[in-house]
């Protein structure tokens, strides 16, 4: 328990320190360097907070919309990423066949992708979720695959010598072994799904946090909501990250890591 308290204290200190540094940097820009763009480069933290409070209901509502689409995209993307990794590990040919193209597929920007997705699904919200999923499956796939490939060679041989089925191999050895890799991928993918979701908000600037950002950037007079939206998006990213960590704790409880079962956790 003691260690956890220390960690929380550290987290609080870092957050407070970060905001103090932000405030100080803003002061440097504005008060010392007299940068005419100071408020646009980095406004005072307290100014951002007061703008956030002023627009709290809108920011909250739009954040919720973006987070919801991100969650849907993330779930689909993670599932697709999982299945792809499994396929690639099961059949070496698939890996060699598909991996370069999976990587290449990540190079298609939304500008090129959107018309194709819209042509497939027609619906704006569906397109948004599909694109968010598209932008998140890759880290999950790659992480899980490298997990599968890191299964200890002796153990792999051992399993093989027992002539165990593929199913047993994944259930008993490969999957439990790869859990940390998988969750690492998910930890990277979850905040990515958030930024992807904010990105697809801009497909049609109706709602969502990305929409606030675009409108505030280019419109006249609503620039005040820009930084609150950025702050909200960052918070969403952290929340998604923490959710994955919590999920990991739950899963680790049910699937103890095979190779290290004995060690347990350092108290």
């Amino acid at each position: 328990m003691k260690r956890i308290d220390g960690r929380h204290l550290s987290l609080i200190l870092w957050i407070v320190g970060f905001f103090l540094m932000w405030e100080f940097a803003a002061f440097l820009l504005d008060g010392v360097l007299h940068d005419p763009m100071a408020a646009k480069k980095l406004p005072y933290f307290h100014a951002v907070i007061s703008e956030t409070v002023l627009n709290a209901d809108n920011i909250l509502l739009q954040s919720a919309l973006t987070a919801l689409r991100a969650a849907e995209g993330f779930l689909i993307g993670a599932l697709v990423g999982f299945l792809l990794a499994l396929l690639m590990d099961l059949f070496g040919v698939v890996e060699r066949m598909a991996l370069p193209y999976l990587l290449a597929s990540q190079m298609i920007p939304i500008l090129g992708l959107a018309p194709i997705i819209f042509g497939l699904v027609k619906d704006l919200d569906m397109s948004r979720v599909t694109i968010a999923a598209y932008m998140t499956f890759f880290p999950v796939s790659l992480s899980l695959l490298s997990g599968f490939k890191s299964v200890d060679i002796e153990q792999r041989m051992l399993m093989r010598s027992y002539a165990s089925s593929k199913f047993l191999y994944y259930r008993k050895l490969a999957l439990p072994y790869s859990v940390p890799f998988l969750f690492n991928g998910l930890k990277i993918a979850a905040p990515m799904a958030m930024t992807a979701s904010a990105f697809v908000d801009t497909l049609s600037t109706q709602n969502g946090i990305g929409s606030i950002i675009i409108v505030a950037l280019y419109g006249g007079g609503t620039t005040g909501q820009f930084w609150p939206a950025v702050l909200a998006a960052s918070l969403l990213g952290i929340v998604s990250y923490v959710l994955v960590i919590l999920a990991e704790r739950v899963v680790e409880r049910f699937i103890p890591r095979a190779p290290k079962e004995a060690a347990g956790e350092a108290a």
Binding site: F199, T202, S204, V215, G219, G220, R253, G264
Partner: protein, 345 residues
């Protein structure tokens, strides 16, 4: 492992499961929420605009807000534009039936194989300014040699290329700098001359202290190098199959613009409430300025949306001369005035 810890984990598991179910339920609910439309007789039309809800599209938003579409038996949905999808692709994919595009830009799609026609010309000229601080000494197109010019992309740049061409200048005589839809680079002297829409970026520059007193405006309409901007386009086969619906839609849109032009203040407020994309004052000014391009001096309310064939031809000619399109496009294949005429009679 003590029981305290496993209890904590159980609570976590339950919380996670709950959160996920809630997210799923919420997303289902959000989808079912869409209004089905009470009157079965209403025909659905979706319009894809170029950008966020603003005075630039006042005719559409006002016709919607004042129920002109409903009176014509149309259930309207206006999709705001964004950065990563074009109205042309949305119409091509039947996500929308009507789109807003620059006429110059529509030409590129026609050349690219999209079977679209221009049926309604919103702006009877180009609201695009090239602005330069007075101390740069840039007052006309001739002064642009060796200068840095801000550009937003092909369809905007071609109008400046035409301006340069008028003064025997070419691409190699100037430096193009990508402008990021703000006026920051102009204000910070990163560029000598900036793109500015009369109804938007120019107003933003005004807010920051740059106006006629210290800034020169090059007006492309006065220079004679303007190309037609915002128009309404549809798929040719959709128009043929839905002639009556399209005519009704254009009639309501025309009425919407007429009302917006006569009541810019009320209209600007309405658009402000729709989109919240700029301040109320900004939207009112934007509506007023856009109105002056939709119904220029000397034109009547009846002329709203009319496609001026001479100006359209000039747009095609400039587009070809300055490389926006490579081949020829016949005017009669590119525009179709018949729907507007029926909507106006």
């Amino acid at each position: 492992m003590n029981s305290k810890k496993s209890k904590k984990i159980k609570v976590l598991a339950i919380a996670l499961a709950l959160a996920m179910t809630a997210a799923l339920l919420a997303s289902c609910a959000a989808k079912e929420e869409k209004p089905a439309g009470e009157g079965q007789t209403l025909d659905k039309i979706t319009v894809q605009t170029l950008w966020v809800p603003q005075g630039q599209f006042a005719g559409l938003y006002i016709a919607d807000a004042r129920d002109y579409y409903e009176e014509e038996g149309i259930d309207i949905e206006i999709l705001p534009g964004g950065t990563d999808v074009t109205p042309a692709d949305q119409v091509e994919n039947d996500v929308a039936q009507v789109g807003v595009l620059f006429y110059s830009s529509l030409l590129t799609y026609q050349e690219g194989g999209y079977d679209f026609i221009n049926v309604f010309q919103n702006f009877q000229g180009s609201p695009q300014y090239l602005v330069a601080k007075k101390d740069t000494g840039i007052a006309t197109g001739a002064d642009l040699k060796g200068k840095k010019i801000g550009t937003w992309g092909a369809q905007w740049q071609v109008e400046f290329a035409a301006l340069l061409g008028k003064y025997d200048l070419g691409d190699s005589d100037v430096t193009w700098v990508q402008q990021d839809y703000t006026m920051d680079q102009f204000i910070n002297d990163e560029i000598d001359a900036a793109s500015a829409m009369a109804y938007n970026e120019w107003l933003i520059a005004n807010d920051e202290g740059w106006d006629e007193s210290n800034t020169n405006i090059i007006d492309l309409n006065k220079e004679g190098t303007a190309m037609l901007e915002d128009c309404l386009f549809v798929k040719r086969d959709w128009a043929e199959a839905n002639e009556d619906l399209l005519v009704r839609f254009l009639r309501a849109t025309k009425k919407g613009w007429d009302y917006a032009i006569q009541n810019p203040e009320e209209s600007g407020k309405l658009i402000f409430e729709t989109g919240n994309s700029a301040t109320e004052e900004h939207q009112i000014k934007m509506t007023e300025i856009c109105g002056s391009y939709v119904q220029p001096e000397g034109a009547t309310a009846g002329d709203i949306g009319k496609i001026d064939e001479a100006k359209a031809q000039q747009t095609i000619d400039f587009a070809k001369k300055y490389g926006l399109i490579k081949g020829d496009i016949a005017l009669e294949n590119s525009i179709d005035v018949s729907y507007w005429e029926k909507a106006s009679s």
